[in-house]
């Protein structure tokens, strides 16, 4: 039938079709065999979504197991972003949700615009909704598509302000920390520790997040769960803090500061003895702030650490307006008023005479005092520099340094011939002026004193496990230059390190600064015969999920310990052999017990009066007062310091208290330490530790007042001189 042409044409048609089919086959083969690998990963990335699951944060206990930081399960309403990507849908959905959630529209929109919530994850609309609200929404999924109620945990601090400077709080990741937290796997909207142990142990407390990987379709609808990795609960922390002593320390500090505010400071007199008309006749001590540190000499574990002003860390977990926040935590340039500063680790303090024991050690250790403990010096009330020629003194260089004024004579105290032990007991300034001058001038102006006190940890951070630690400063050429560059001291003053700088250094004034924790740790070195420890507030890191023995108290006997800090080796061991430690400890013991020295009349030691009622027989201690001169050397700017340590090896404590603008060392700080050791001796009935009342959101202060039930342990007379 077919003509040759047709037949040929039919063949041509068939061949064309065959070519096209072959082309399809080849193309399919190229896609599947050649290009397959390159496209596989893209497909996988596109079709899965991952949702992070955060585990329960580790809890924080005190040394006995009291739960200081726990977690409360809350319900959070979230919405899938794809449901509200269209502005019209968003408005409609927000209008519908506004009622059930009890949130005005603008707040919902604010949430939507909040950059902390990632664009790929469900947007949390409201946290901590009631079970009823959650149920209402869950039962009406068709009216609220994409709305989901998820379980979360909220941090809960049962004891409120008690120990809050140590425990810390959680907050949103700050913009300048975002890069760091991202790099360690955090989401920008996570809450992280921003203070205290919550901050310093953040990654340990957080645990390991898990995730759910979903397969999704092109519209983002979840098809199935591909993988679910459960989160790992964070490790629990057992602090070395004993909450009952912590509470007592906070009460004693706050009570004492309150009492000092009712005390008149000395008047400022003209040289002829009449009141200086430039200053008001009556000025009360301001006593705005202070701190107390109590630690274990033998391992550096901190038992109590109080800092005033206190704050309730539950403010940071509550929903308050910016105005309210500004009322509670006012922005201020006045360091006296700042609340969110743990003064025990961040305070930059002159130490006054409480620094003298370490200068004494420097002299004894370097052989600066011929005869050591038997070396004597005649204290005539003033000390004239020996290294400066008389003519220069007459040209105006300050060459004569005076002791503190004795109340009995209204003249610089004169103690006569004193040993190093007696010089510490009565706090002879002249003795230490001499050491200060000679340890510099007789050693070729080397920084011997600096090197010696650095052995105790001054001038470098203790590396305590708390954030924002201040490393302190030690007067030196380098420091003076740096401070001159910063404008803190004048250019001329910054040019060199003068003998005068060294003199002030030797009595703990001038450019010396340290934190109360550093000094407490240094006193512990004297106490334990030379071992410098890295202090810690955490005793043990426990494996996650420590069970409770009773409500609010963890059972520390169950579960394993991941890491412990109460058996650390010392950072450094100082030579306390021979005549180095004994005269210092004896002198500091005489501060508590007396006797003083007799020169003209009997001079009591600086603590003798105060500690008369102290149960020394039960818990023997040694200590040293200090008064740091403040602005203008005005009496009401004196800050009060006292360091002490136990002589009983069964109760190995060391403590330091510092009360700003509160008076002499023996007047303000020493009574607090006295109370503390009285309590440790068992001679004071401590208040029971009970969970705090719920946070009062109407309160205008950061923490409710806390005071000693019985302040009698604070009572006692101060010393007769500005010690």
């Amino acid at each position: 039938m077919a003509t040759p042409t047709r037949s040929k044409r039919l063949v041509a048609l068939g061949v064309t079709a065959l070519l096209l089919m072959s082309l399809l086959t080849v193309r399919m083969w190229v896609l599947q065999a050649v290009e397959a690998e390159s496209t596989e990963s893209i497909v996988l990335a596109v079709r899965t979504r991952t949702i992070k699951l955060l585990g329960e944060r580790g809890r924080i206990f005190d040394v006995t197991g009291r739960v200081l930081a726990a977690n409360k399960r809350i319900l959070t309403v979230t919405i899938d972003r794809s449901v509200i990507s269209d502005p019209v849908d968003r408005l409609a959905m927000f209008q519908r949700l506004s009622g059930p959630l009890g949130l005005p529209l603008d707040l919902l929109y604010k949430r939507f615009d909040d950059q902390r919530f990632g664009p790929l994850e469900a947007l949390p609309l409201k946290e901590d909704v009631s079970e009823d609200t959650a149920l209402f929404l869950a039962e009406r999924t068709e009216d609220f598509p994409g709305v989901f109620v998820r379980e979360e945990y909220r941090r809960n601090y049962p004891y409120g302000a008690l120990g809050s400077h140590i425990v810390g709080y959680l907050g949103a990741i700050l913009p300048n920390n975002l890069a760091y937290y991202r790099s360690v796997g955090y989401d920008p909207n996570e809450r992280v520790g921003q203070y205290g142990v919550e901050q310093s142990y953040e990654t340990i407390l957080r645990g390991k997040p898990g995730y759910i990987r979903f397969e999704v379709d092109a519209q983002g609808n979840v098809l199935r769960i591909l993988e679910r990795v459960e989160p790992v609960i964070g490790n629990d922390l057992q602090l070395s803090i004993d909450l009952s002593i912590q509470q007592f320390a906070e009460q004693a500090l706050e009570t004492q500061l309150g009492l000092r505010r009712r005390v008149e400071a000395a008047t400022v007199n003209l040289p002829d003895g009449t009141p200086d008309p430039q200053y008001p006749e009556i000025t009360y001590y301001k006593a705005p702030a202070g701190s107390v540190v109590l630690l274990n000499q033998e391992n550096g574990q901190i038992v109590a650490m109080a800092s005033y002003p206190r704050f309730d860390n539950r403010w940071f977990g509550s929903v308050i307006t910016n105005n309210k926040y500004a009322q509670i935590f006012p922005q201020t340039d006045d360091p006296d008023l700042s609340i969110l500063v743990n003064r025990a680790v961040s305070g930059r303090y002159n130490l006054g005479s409480s620094f003298k024991p370490f200068v004494a050690y420097a002299a004894l250790n370097t052989g600066q005092l011929p005869g050591g403990s038997k070396y004597t010096f005649r204290d005539e009330g003033t000390y004239k520099l020996e290294s400066i020629p008389n003519d220069r003194c007459q040209q105006g260089v300050k060459c004569v340094f005076r002791n503190a004024t004795c109340r009995a004579t209204n003249q610089p105290c004169r103690y006569g011939t004193v040993t190093v032990e007696e010089a510490l007991a009565v706090s002879s300034d002249s003795f230490f002026y001499k050491i200060g001058e000679q340890i510099l001038t007789e050693r070729g102006y080397q920084a011997i004193l600096e090197q010696q006190v650095r052995l105790f940890g001054f001038g470098s951070p203790t590396n305590v496990d708390l954030p924002y630690e201040y490393s302190g400063t030690i007067p030196s050429k380098a420091l003076k230059r740096r401070m001159a560059d910063l404008g803190a001291i004048s250019k001329e003053s910054g040019q060199a390190y003068f003998v005068g700088d060294q003199i002030l250094f030797a009595i703990g004034q001038g450019l010396l600064s340290a934190t109360p924790l550093q000094v407490a740790s240094a006193f512990a070195v004297l106490a334990n015969s030379g071992k410098l420890f890295q202090p810690h507030v955490v005793q043990r890191i426990l494996s996650p999920g420590t069970p409770d023995a009773s409500p609010g108290v963890a059972d520390l006997n169950i579960g394993s310990v991941t890491e412990r800090f109460d058996q650390l080796k010392p950072v450094r061991i100082l030579d306390m052999s021979g005549d180095r430690r004994d005269p210092i400890v004896k002198g500091l013991t005489r501060v508590i017990t007396g006797p003083g020295v007799t020169f003209g009349y009997y001079h009591k030691t600086t603590g003798e009066n105060l500690f008369r009622g102290y149960p020394y027989k039960i818990l023997p201690i040694a200590g040293k007062t200090g008064t740091a001169q403040g602005f203008g050397n005005l009496p009401w700017n004196d800050s009060s310091a006292f360091g002490a340590f136990s002589l009983d090896p069964a109760m190995p404590y060391a403590a330091y208290a510092y009360l700003e603008k509160s008076g002499y060392g023996s007047q303000a700080a020493a009574p607090v330490i006295k109370c503390l050791f009285t309590a440790l001796a068992g001679e004071y009935r401590l208040d029971p530790v009970v969970p705090a009342d719920p946070l009062n959101l109407n309160s205008a202060v950061a923490a409710p007042p806390s005071s000693l039930r019985n302040p009698l342990c604070l009572a006692g007379l101060g010393s007769e001189s500005r010690d």
């Binding site: 039938m1 044409r9 048609l13 079709a17 089919m21 399809l24 399919m28 896609l31 379709d217 098809l223």
Partner: protein, 394 residues
């Protein structure tokens, strides 16, 4: 090639004249091309399973019964089978006698759909009858072929002459014009391809063929300039030319093709397994079950499955081509050649766009794609081919 001996031929003729002997060799139903039928049925069944896999998850997501589409597809297949059997039974010769009425009816339907058709995606392609819709353009495919083949076989002596060629273009032009107005470039291209096949085999001179090609191009350009064809069809071509573009305006088309290609390429040799294709399950490819069914096959069954489907299409084309060659008369030859071209073009165009070889068009893949109209239209084509085969010895 099987050549029946004279004795057998005589027997068959005898049998055909003696209608009482239904089982004789001359009985047309004894001469069904079973290989062709088998391949078509196999493709149809693959199409049903494929329709289920490509629609299951998205129906579940929308809260519907996952079997809705495949149930309808089975119903369409039954209707299509009945239509095919009907065509085979009555024969293409019978249709030829009434082709003028059928052609007229199709033209009326094409006119009506422009007025009363359901608007979908900016085009009026179908009549909506609630439970199902009917696309007259699908009906036009076999009818235009049959009309032109009938006209040419009636008038032609030897090669097609100029007059017949022009007449053919008139016959083609009326429905094509109406289809372009819908606008449905894809269906138009299929019909033009089929008619071009008919004219080619009819011995059209090369310049005629060049003319029809030029006219096709001019028509397309004309519709574009005339605004009948919207920017959407142009965007498809633009997307095809720039398949790696990141132009957001082309996003929808680009992603559709990109995901289709990924589905094919991630299938590998054995595929992900039935109902285990992530891209298919994830509904990443819009209108996959109608326009991109091959991507679902290749993702789930890999090169093996894709190869089997291509092979089955190869069998369909081979048998159709063979029937064209065996055809007893001019009508059978031209019709079969046209059907061959039409099917080849549709298969190439549809699988080609899945693989990124050709621009996206709304053409279904014969026998596989979901959809009643195209299934019935394809069944008519196969029914006519079978009819040519069955009656080649009469």
């Amino acid at each position: 090639m099987f050549k029946p001996s004279g004795a057998l031929l005589a027997m068959r003729r005898q049998g055909s004249s003696n209608r009482t002997f239904a089982g004789s060799f001359a009985d047309p139903f004894r001469n069904i091309d079973w290989l062709l039928l088998g391949a078509v049925i196999a493709l149809g069944i693959i199409g049903m399973f494929n329709t289920y896999s490509a629609t299951r998850q998205r129906l579940i997501n929308q809260g519907f019964d996952p079997f809705i589409y495949v149930q309808r597809q089975v119903a369409f297949a039954i209707i299509a089978t009945l239509v095919m059997i009907l065509i085979m039974a009555i024969g293409h010769e019978w249709l030829r006698g009434r082709v003028i009425f059928i052609y007229g009816a199709v033209l009326v339907a094409l006119l009506l759909v422009l007025v009363a058709g359901a608007v979908k995606g900016g085009a009026r392609l179908s009549f909506d009858f609630g439970y199902f819709s009917v696309q007259p353009a699908e009906a036009a495919k076999p009818v235009v072929l049959l009309t032109i083949a009938a006209y040419l076989s009636d008038t032609m002596e030897g090669r097609i002459n100029y007059h017949q060629f022009v007449m053919s273009l008139y016959i083609l032009g009326a429905p094509i014009g109406l289809i372009l107005l819908q606008p449905d470039l894809g269906s138009a291209s299929v019909i033009v391809a089929g008619v071009a096949g008919v004219l080619f085999v009819a011995g059209a001179k090369r310049r005629y063929l060049a003319l029809i090609t030029a006219m096709s191009i001019l028509t397309v350009v004309g519709t574009v300039i005339g605004g009948v064809v919207g920017g959407y069809q142009l965007a498809r071509i633009e997307a095809w030319l720039n398949q790696n573009s990141r132009d957001s305006a082309l996003d929808r088309i680009l992603l559709q093709v990109r995901f289709a290609k990924r589905a094919v390429s991630t299938g590998g040799f054995f595929g992900k397994g039935y109902l285990n294709g992530p891209l298919t399950n994830g509904a990443f490819i819009p209108v996959q079950f109608t326009d991109f069914p091959f991507s679902a096959i290749a993702e789930q069954f890999g090169m093996l499955g894709g190869g089997v489907v291509l092979g089955l299409f190869g069998v369909v084309l081979w048998r159709t081509w063979r029937i064209a060659q065996l055809a007893r008369d001019r009508l059978g030859l031209l019709l079969a050649a046209g059907i061959f071209t039409m099917l080849a073009w549709q298969i190439f165009q549809n699988i080609g766009m899945t693989l990124g070889l050709t621009p996206v068009s709304g053409l279904p893949l014969p026998f596989i794609s979901y959809g009643g109209s195209h299934l019935v239209s394809s069944a008519i084509l196969i029914g006519m081919v079978q009819s040519i085969h069955m009656r080649r010895l009469e």
